[in-house]
């Protein structure tokens, strides 16, 4: 991906974020900025804290230290040093500004594809039924599922469900989209249709923070790749540099080496 966007202040700013689950220190001081319109992909070994970091960005997970800001507003906490947890209403309002797509789709099983999308539009964005319906249709078309609007999730393939998941998130017009291994629960032949949607969103200038094990996709879609291991950022560079044979970070080289070994069939 070319033409890395530049912005004076980053849209998402993660500074010194730390997080423990009990005695497990999962995030050990993460610094990461994402500019408006930028696509940043996080790769790294299992258990490195990628999911945890993504979940902290829309406060599905609390963090213990450091700060995360979106457009200058602190995520989850208020009153600076006092770090008071925001009220639930406040949290809901803030979360509406970050879209999230999940590994296991997490579509509301009792709602149709269209209703999955309109729920947030009517209840959170306050759109009328008709307007929300139009908007849902627009996004369903965009992900190639106009004919599935009335289908329940259980009547859709994994790839179709995930495309509805993406439509549900982007229809809210979030400032940033968080994607956590959105193809890893899919059969190989369904991965392409989902990644194509993500690529088209990137082309539209959607800001995205992506976690993926699809190394090829990361290379093609990202402005910048972040290598995360054991709760720290090990390397951070444009794809060309990350995949360069001269990559100085040894752990990254061995991580990528394992990948190419696995993919060299």
């Amino acid at each position: 991906m070319s033409g890395k966007p530049t912005g004076a202040t980053p849209l998402l700013r993660i500074k010194g974020v730390q997080k423990s689950f009990g005695s497990t220190h999962v995030l050990r001081g993460i610094d990461l900025d994402v500019a408006r319109g930028e696509v940043v992909t996080i790769i790294g070994p299992s258990g490195g804290g990628k999911t945890t970091l993504l979940r902290c960005v829309n406060f599905l997970e609390t963090y213990d230290r450091g700060s995360i800001t979106i457009d200058g507003a602190e995520v989850g906490y208020r009153d600076g040093e006092a770090r008071k947890r925001r009220t639930e209403t406040d949290l809901a309002r803030m979360r509406a500004e970050t879209g999230m797509v999940f590994q296991l789709f997490n579509l509301f099983p009792h709602l149709t594809a269209a209703q999955n999308i309109t729920l947030g539009l009517t209840r959170v964005r306050g759109l009328g039924r008709a307007e929300a319906g139009d908007k849902a249709m627009h996004w369903l078309k965009r992900v190639g599922l106009a004919d599935k609007a009335g289908h329940l999730p259980s009547e859709l393939s994994g790839g179709q469900q995930q495309r509805v998941g993406i439509a549900r998130a982007v229809a809210m017009e979030p400032k940033i989209l968080l994607l956590d291994e959105i193809t890893s629960a899919l059969d190989p032949e369904l991965i392409g249709e989902v990644l194509d949607v993500v690529l088209s969103l990137a082309a539209d200038g959607m800001t995205m923070l992506i976690v993926t094990h699809e190394i090829g996709f990361a290379r093609d879609a990202s402005h910048r790749i972040v290598f995360m291991a054991e709760g720290t950022v090990g390397a951070e560079a444009p794809p060309a540099e990350i995949f360069s044979p001269n990559q100085p970070n040894e752990r990254l080289r061995s991580f990528l080496g394992r990948f190419s070994a696995a993919h060299r069939l």
Partner: protein, 221 residues
Amino acid sequence: MGYDLNFTLIWRHFDKLWSGLILSLELAILSIGIGIVIGLILAVIYVSGGRIARALIAAYVELIRNVPLILLVYLVFYGIPTVFDFAYDNTTSFVMTLSVYAGAYLVEVFRAGLDAVPKGLIDAGKAIGLTPWQRLVHVRLPTMLRMTLPALSNTFVSLFKDTSVASVIAVPELTYGAQWINFNTFRIMEVYLVVTGLYLVTGYAILLGLRALERRYSIGR
């Protein structure tokens, strides 16, 4: 065998059984309706409330589930009016009792159902900016209800059968009708055969209806 089956007298008094069956159904529907309201409210309080609320609800559930229904019926109909010096009619008293009884079973079903709502769905609700109340109304309750449909069907059929206990305080439902015919005609075998058939057919019809609902709405676990 000196006993000849003779249904003539039963058919002559069949209106007693018919009106009894209707009343049984009404008792069941009313009590289940009120029980659902009790169960839903308490289940929601249980999963989101504090320790004291939980303890009180757990005590209510345990109390009701470990005391025979017939005892509760006597307690409410004879006991409470004696202590508080008032009277209510037997049907009202029974509906109150069965509602409270149903509520205890349903709060368990709903509570377990709410716990079983996948965490990912709640996360998805959070991620699109729903408030806790909106998540409850639009995500947790509808998912929970669909997941608990099979358990609910069984509970509803049991509660329909439990209406027969109302006969002990002379509520003129189906079993009471059967007793009346028995006392007045002595056709004991015939009347209980017919009544058994009526319970069986009605219970089965209820179950079939609920199974159809399940097929339409259930989303499994």
